[in-house]
Every structure is written in C-alpha cells, then in structure tokens.
C-alpha cells in the first residue's frame, strides 16, 4: 500500500514539475518555431531578448517598479507589524485581515477598482502610481513574515537592554532590528517577486507601458514568440537564486537565535 502511494506521489510530482522540465530545452531551440525536442541547440533567443529594446525596456521597468514596491512595502509593512504584534488596540485583527486581504481577494477586482480611481486622479500610465499599486500586492507578504518573526522574538533580550539603560528606540534599533533584518530580507524577496510577476493590475492601470509580464502577455495574444521561453528561463533562474538566498539567510538567523527563542507555548 505504501509503495503504491509512493509511486502515485512521484507521478503527481512529475505532473507538477512538467512545465518546468520542458522550459529549458524549448528555450535552447535554434528554430523559428517552437518545437520539441529541438532539432539543434542555440542561444539565439537569449540574444534576441537583449537585442530587442522593447524586451529590455520592459525588464528595466519591471525592476524599477519591483524595487520601489519592495522598498515601500518593507518600510510600511515592518512599522505596521511592530504595532500589530506589540500594541494592543481595538480592531487589531480586522486591520491585520485588511493588510493580508490583497493576497486572497481576486486581483481583477482590485485592478478594476484601481483603474477607476487612477483615471479619476489622472494617474494612469504613471510609474509612481503603478509602484504604489504593486506595494499593495507586496504588503501581505511583509506583514505576514515580519510579524511572525517578531512574535517569535524573545522580548526579554530587549528588556535587558532597557534595564541596562537604553531608551526604547535605541533598544529596538540595536537589539530587535538586527534580529528582524533576515526575515525582512526574506519578505523583501517575496514582495519583489509579487510585484515582478504581477500582470492583471499592471494590464489595467499601466496605460500601455509594458512590464515584463505585460510584454509576455501581449506577445502570447499574437503568436508563440520563441523569445518567451528564454525570458522565462532567465526569470526562473533569478527567482531561484533570490528565494534561495532568502531561505538560507532565514535559516541561519533561526539557528543563531534558537537558544534565545522561548519554547512554543
């Protein structure tokens, strides 16, 4: 029975990673058309990406918006997490739910809503406004990860700093913030990719400006451009490296503070 389950499990994993497996060979095809298996290998579609200014421009816009949205959501989300974890005020759980809501509510509803207000405020086709909209999508990750990490933090360390004469802000900056930095980094990476992969809101409010997902989307409507798999492979590498670094840092931090962490209640 267990062996049968194991076979089933790995078949299922095969299905889950099927699209990932085919991506690399497809991107290396030398042909004009998408074919599998490729008859000859080349990097021409990787070159095509860098030679096409619309692809490069889309990548640059994606990075600009992504970095801006990450910075903003990290700043705003970390401050809010401190209040949510340490403060005691009415409506706390409702507020937490609202911060996390963009993760589960249908994006298209938010996209339409933002499009309508952006038109009214004349913010369509405005990179700064797009960055703010992406920060909304990135914020849930920051609030969830940073407040979870803050909740695990042993406050006696900070209290010790206070007893030894540090003011509340100094104690926080010198004791708690260094503890938070790795989880903020992990949250920042998730926030960045939330923005970097965002399609629907951008499609509604960017007014023709193309981020990478929008560029890919516009391409897919017309034909199967072989540049897309090459872009996809590069993006996947980027996210694997990014999330890998985030995971390593998070784990190291956990080990470092393990002795100081109180046992889970």
């Amino acid at each position: 029975m267990k062996r049968l389950l194991a076979v089933y499990f790995f078949l299922l994993v095969g299905f889950l990673i099927l699209p990932l497996i085919f991506l690399v060979p497809i991107s290396l095809s030398a042909s004009q058309f998408l074919e599998f298996p490729p008859t000859s290998l080349s990097l021409r579609w990787y070159a095509a990406f860098f030679e096409d200014p619309t692809w490069v421009g889309a990548a640059i816009l994606s990075f600009r918006v992504g970095i801006g949205a990450t910075a903003l959501s990290l700043l705003v989300g970390t401050l809010a997490s401190i209040a949510l974890v340490r403060g005691n005020f009415p409506g706390k759980s409702a507020l937490t739910a609202i911060f996390i809501a963009p993760l589960i509510l249908p994006t298209v509803v938010l996209a339409l809503a933002l499009y309508i207000v952006f038109l009214r405020w004349q913010l369509v086709d405005n990179v700064f406004a797009l960055t703010l909209a992406h920060a909304i999508v990135a914020l849930p990750y920051v609030v969830m990860i940073v407040s979870a990490s803050l909740r695990r933090f042993d406050t006696t360390i900070e209290r010790a700093a206070r007893v030894l004469g540090a003011g509340p802000i100094k104690a926080f900056m010198l004791v708690t913030l260094p503890y938070l930095v790795p989880s903020m980094f992990a949250a920042g990476i998730l926030a960045f990719f939330a923005s970097f992969d965002e399609l629907i809101i951008t499609l509604f409010v960017s007014g023709g400006a193309q981020t990478l997902p929008v560029r890919i989307w516009n391409d897919l409507g017309l034909k199967l451009d072989p540049t897309v798999p090459a872009v996809a492979v590069m993006l996947t590498m980027l996210s694997i490296v990014g999330m890998g670094i985030g995971e390593v840092i998070r784990r190291r931090n956990e080990q470092r503070y393990q002795s100081a962490t109180p046992p889970e209640a």
Partner: protein, 280 residues
Amino acid sequence: MTMRRPIILLLLAPAVLLVGLLFVAPLFGVMSLTVHDGTSFTAEPIRELLDSRVALVVLERTFMLAASVTAICLLLGYPAAYFMSSLRPRVRAYLTYLILLPFWVSILIRTYTWIVILGREGIVNTGLGALGLAPVQILYTNVAVHIGMVQILLPIVIITCLASMLDIDKDLMKAARSLGASPAQSFWKVFFPLSVSGAATGGLICFILSLGFFVTPALLGGRRSIIIANLIDLQVHQTLNWGFAAVLATALLAITLACLGVFWLLMRRRVEFSGAGLGR
C-alpha cells in the same frame, strides 16, 4: 511590553494610508458604482446583471469550474498529503520542497509552457503522431484549463491537508488497531474524520482562488471557457461598459467574501474542536 496609543498610531499610519487610499477606498468605489452612476442612485447596473444571459452563464461557469478544479485537487492531493504525513520529518521536508518547486516559476510562464505541451503541434500531439495516433484537441478546451489550474493550485491543497494531518495524534490509530480495528477501519473511522476539517480548509482556499483566475482560462481555454475575471476584462477593454464591469466585480467580491465567511466559521470550529481534548 505595552505601547502607548500615539506610538501605535504613528507606526500604523503609513500602512493604513496606503491600504486605505489604494485598496479599501477603490473597492468601495467599485461597489458604489453598482448602485450609483455618479450623479444619482440607480438600479440599472444590477438590473443589467440579472437581465444579462452572458453574465449569468459566465457566473455559473465560474462556479462550476472552481468546484470541479477544487474536487480534482482534493482527490489528487489528499492521498499525496497522507503519504507525506507517514514519512520521517527529514524526508518530508525534502518532498515539501519538491511540491513547492512550481512556485518558483510565474503562473504566466507555466501557462505558456502548457500551450507548448498541449498545442496542435505540441509535445503531446507529436508523441501521439510518433505512435501513429491521431492528434487530439486539448488546448483551447476546458480540459486544458483544468490541467493548468490544477497544476497551480494542487501544491496549496497538499500543503494545507498535510498541515492538519500532522496535528493528528498517530497513537489514536494504534489504539484503534490494538482494539481490533483493521488498517482500513482505523483509517476510515479515526484518521479520516480527524483530517476532514483540514481538507475542507484546503478545498475552500482552492475554491476562492479559483474564482478569481484570469490568465489560465484566457490562454488555455477557448472562447467558451472565459470566466468572470475575463468577462470583467472584456467589459473594460473592449466594450467599455464600466458600470457592468463594476457590477460583475462586486458580484465576484461578494461571492469571495461569503466563502471567506464560511472559511472563518470553519477555522473557529476547528480551533474549538482541537482545543477540546485529543491529548492537548
């Protein structure tokens, strides 16, 4: 550590400002468009929704798609989660990484790859041709939409089911066995009932996320696979009928919130239930 009220307000202010201005207010704006056309109150958009055959067909299709995708994910995911729950923690951690691997690739790109795999001259049909079989039309049908959506949502269902299964005290099944139950009985009478609420949670999350899908139905489905998110997009970008788009969006939002309400009730019951004993 207690914080004073002004400090709490100061810390929350930027996030509340951002979310209030660009999330809460716009959503209320959309909802208000369904009863107010900018100058006066009107019931026109709602009447339009109820009169529109297209909207009702698409709403029903959205519901049916979400339901069937959820059912498939639960049927496929539950045994996988059960298998994972029976392993040693270390092995389980590695398999969890494996299950979560698809998250590293964006949904848009995964959908693109399905087009290459399932298309007329795609990998599946080339393979069938090599075996001397006739090509099958999978791409641009509901089957392709299901494949694409299950591939995206299955990991979420597996992980949620697994989390609740790990909470189950394994000694309960041993006790059942020692009291004379067969392995099948100890599974169906002890393990399964205890795992149902976790599976239901996973199913509900899957259902809610399915309702809002946009990319997969648009790219893998045909003209008759569009669901509500695609219809909203069409209303905005092609028909330019915003009132109608707003009423569709409000309907989608209301359905999602209703599901979240059920979810919340379920979670609360689960907390009470697991707090009621069972060795804790």
